[in-house]
Symmetry: C2
Subunit: 518 residues, 2 copies
């Protein structure tokens, strides 16, 4: 992947010299596709993997999954499944045969081919928070999501090189009617970013509108679009044991046109899943695999990934909890099972905290490190998430990006290289017992890139920090967020393509958008 | 290890019924010795381990370590090392032979044998922050450490079951003269806690005073004390390449009396160590192993551990940074090398942040998870550390204990158990696609202990949180800290032993304490 020139290095444009001297844009790491070289943390032994697999297979063959979509039932019946109303049962041999068609890795290429993302293998990708109805910032508190807020988060998504894809809407713009929300949102996504985008699987029309817009943005024919992945969707089951109509419909359209589908059941242990973590993981896998089997029947080899969103509730209140020890183990177990089935793995960056404080960061750190430990390939909600996903916060977005950058630096082989020059016996000899290393040639040759340089961490001592205003992390993040929005420049886009996108949106709005029941 | 009855369950005493109904004491996890079952994260391949080992051996044999203690030099000369003034060189065969004497695991037993801690193997132990000159809290800001503050932190150390030992002074009580500070501090430590305590190796007199006090507190004869570990010390080298007089003196006294010595060089890459992380680790190991070799010569089989305190500086300002990606890799590499040498491993919970905010918690989470990943046996500074160790904070102490408890819960096999009852196919069948799991028998049988219950995390939704005052984590931690101090009760101690300790302190003070040059 080519490095993205940072905004600062870009000459001319709207940001002239005068402006650049007072730039509030942070230095950041270049765009890269991190490779997770660590051996995954695997709590399950061979028997444990077998027990979860057999449990999932028993659910699929004995209990069955409800497919609330007649087409899906028809297709599965045709493939030999036992279909009784909406209940579909499938046996292990069939499931394993169908899963055998799913690729272990595939690449999604957005309108800017330099932003292509390989999904699977040792790669780990990070995406923005998706789908909160509300937003919160330090100055305005909690507010209902709107289009202005949406655009700000899309700008943050584009600005940070450590964010690899633009997932769902980082906040729901409630001020745009649902019949045309996807049109306005995708127009902004496809013009303000050049990263991989996503379609909500909320029925045929929305999915096909998004596909058409992604096709236009990439300057592709329909055949070129259908030939390989250019976007993706994520569907959730309705746990326990159900897949609903529009999600299945959207997923099937994606599969038919070779666009990836991530299937992520949302199983809260003790609520819509067993109170035991391996039980919740088993249910989640059964639901997820059932949908992937359907997609493989439709188009053998269709790109799919298995997601985990297994956490637990607070048993005193029923409130969902995130980034807990149980969440971490569920993520690691799902990672093991994903490798067992040969599927790319999705997990998330999550917390239950309501504001970007200490709790928010230990819960988020727990979930992000669990993603790393589990061998996750795609980390959803990695930046900006608060209140169990009900709030998107720009400060949290910036803070999370500092953590994500650290994870990316952590994965660089330079941090643990052991060439003779790294071991540095000659430098140790040269400096001896009375010198220091600041001035020696070994340091001078390396100091510029030797260490991670943070976005928002303040490493000054207390007195310097206090003289500088005594600013806590969330407030520093607020300043950085405002600066990024102020100086944001959209990535290049051919004006003809932009016009074609605008025309498409205008036409579809004139046609009334998509049908809604409200 | 027996569970410690929680303060709440204790009848009578100073905290009567009326008081208990308004108790501010949190529910917490019982005392336990966590077992770290995860396979360690090992960035080094076999060649990497070999390269660091050979580098350390070349430093020891070709460059040598300065032992600024004539007794130490004499002893090493007698053992066949090449001694030139204070410079001591030793060859690989000798080093490996001596390290072969050091035990891979040993147990330290304090005055309460139920608080004994096994050091080594798969065990991981957590201790309080040690040695900051300053303290900070949310209401009073930054202040110089004093004896009142010291006692508060000792109470927190005793209160939290997840803290296994009372390390160094959690804050330096600057208001007590150095000639008698250790006497007052150890009296409080040995009466306010019943956990393993530590002696600073700041010369013979202090070490022997502490040993005598630990002996008295345990009601032991001198022979009983010397027979096995009852306390420990931690020494630092003066990097690069030096061990100073008083640290070596204290360490040698410990080794002669079978009390454990943790040797922890403080090598900041780019300052007192090479700018490359494996180089800084290699230097650290050479320094650490040299001291352990000395102690094995003095008393083959003396209990020792190898510590790591390798981090990096901010190359723009020279400021130390903690909990960075480079710090994590250095910790993991040292863990691998500790296992290579068959020694228990010490690392730390650290951050550069000045206040207990988001940055503090992501840096601390990075360092605590690195401790877990590295197979660390002893985590120093695990609770209460701010500003690179220059500040102790009670709010941070409480917040860190929530993270440490989560790590301990994470290590419980229940979080990833896969018995048929865990996989729960029958419960999944019973609940079916339209039920929920709150009410089913499988949940009812397990919900009380199913999930981690936090100390200070607030899992309520935004509106409930706001109605409850909209309190951020640090402020919630402040309230909890005040409640713990208010309701603190010291563990039982025989009055005769308490008197004997007080008499010893009075006598030693009357003798003038220990000599100081100020």
């Amino acid at each position: 992947m080519a490095d993205e020139p940072s905004k600062r290095k870009r000459g001319g444009g709207r940001a002239g010299n005068a402006r650049r001297t007072t730039s509030k844009l942070p230095e950041q790491m270049p765009w890269r596709i991190p490779v997770n070289v660590d051996k995954p943390t695997e709590p399950l032994d061979e028997d444990g993997v077998h027990a979860i697999h057999k449990g999932a297979m028993r659910i699929l063959s004995e209990i069955g999954i409800e497919f609330l979509n007649p087409d899906a039932c028809e297709i599965l019946k045709g493939a030999g499944c036992k279909v009784d109303g909406t209940n579909v049962r499938m046996d292990e041999d069939f499931v394993m045969e169908m899963l055998g068609h799913a690729p272990a890795e595939f690449t999604i290429t957005p309108r800017n081919p330099n932003r292509a993302i390989p999904m699977g293998g040792k790669h780990i990708l990070f995406g923005n928070v998706s789908s909160p109805p509300n937003m919160w910032d330090l100055k305005r508190g909690k507010r209902t999501g709107d289009f202005e807020g949406y655009k700000e988060f899309i700008k943050l998504t584009q600005f940070f090189n450590c964010i690899h894809f633009a997932g769902g809407y980082p906040v729901e713009p409630i001020d745009i009617h649902a019949r045309e929300r996807h049109l306005d949102c995708l127009f902004e996504k496809l013009t303000l970013t050049d990263k991989v985008v996503h379609a909500y699987s909320l029925g045929k029309e929305r999915v096909e509108d998004v596909m058409e817009m992604v096709r236009i943005a990439g300057g592709m024919t329909r055949e070129e679009f259908d030939a390989k992945p250019h976007m993706y969707t994520n569907i959730n089951s309705v746990s326990p044991l159900k897949h609903d109509f529009p999600m299945l419909e959207g997923a099937m359209i994606h599969a038919r046109r070779n666009q990836p589908v991530i299937v992520t059941p949302f199983t809260l242990a003790g609520a819509m899943a067993p109170v035991t973590m391996s039980g919740a993981v088993t249910l989640s896998l059964a639901e997820g695999l059932a949908a992937i089997v359907l997609l493989q029947v439709i188009n053998p080899g269709a790109p799919c990934a298995i997601g985990t969103f297994t956490s637990n509730v607070d048993m005193k209140t029923g409130a969902p909890a995130f980034g807990t020890p149980e969440y971490m183990r569920a993520t690691q177990m799902t990672g093991q099972m994903g490798r067992f089935y040969g599927l790319p793995i999705r997990s998330s960056g999550v917390c239950a905290a309501n504001v970007p404080d200490g709790q928010a960061m230990w819960e988020t750190s727990n979930s992000l490190w669990a993603a790393v430990q589990s061998g996750t390939n795609v980390v959803y909600h990695a930046a900006g998430w608060l209140e169990g996903g009900l709030i998107a916060s720009p400060e949290k977005f910036v803070m999370d990006c500092d953590v994500i950058q650290q994870i990316q630096r952590y994965m660089e082989p330079a941090t643990y290289a052991t060439t003779p020059e790294d071991i540095a016996v000659e430098a140790i000899r040269e400096v001896g017992p009375n010198g220091h290393y600041f001035g020696c040639q070994h340091t001078q040759d390396r100091y510029e890139d030797a260490f991670y340089s943070p976005l928002i961490s303040d490493w000054s001592n207390y007195e310097a920090w206090e003289l500088n205003g005594g600013v806590w992390t969330a407030e520093r993040a607020h300043e950085m967020y405002k600066g990024i929005i102020e100086e944001f420049e959209a990535p290049p886009l051919d004006i003809a393509i932009r016009d074609e996108l605008a025309d498409f949106v205008a036409r579809r709005k004139a046609e009334g958008g998509v049908p809604t029941d409200f």
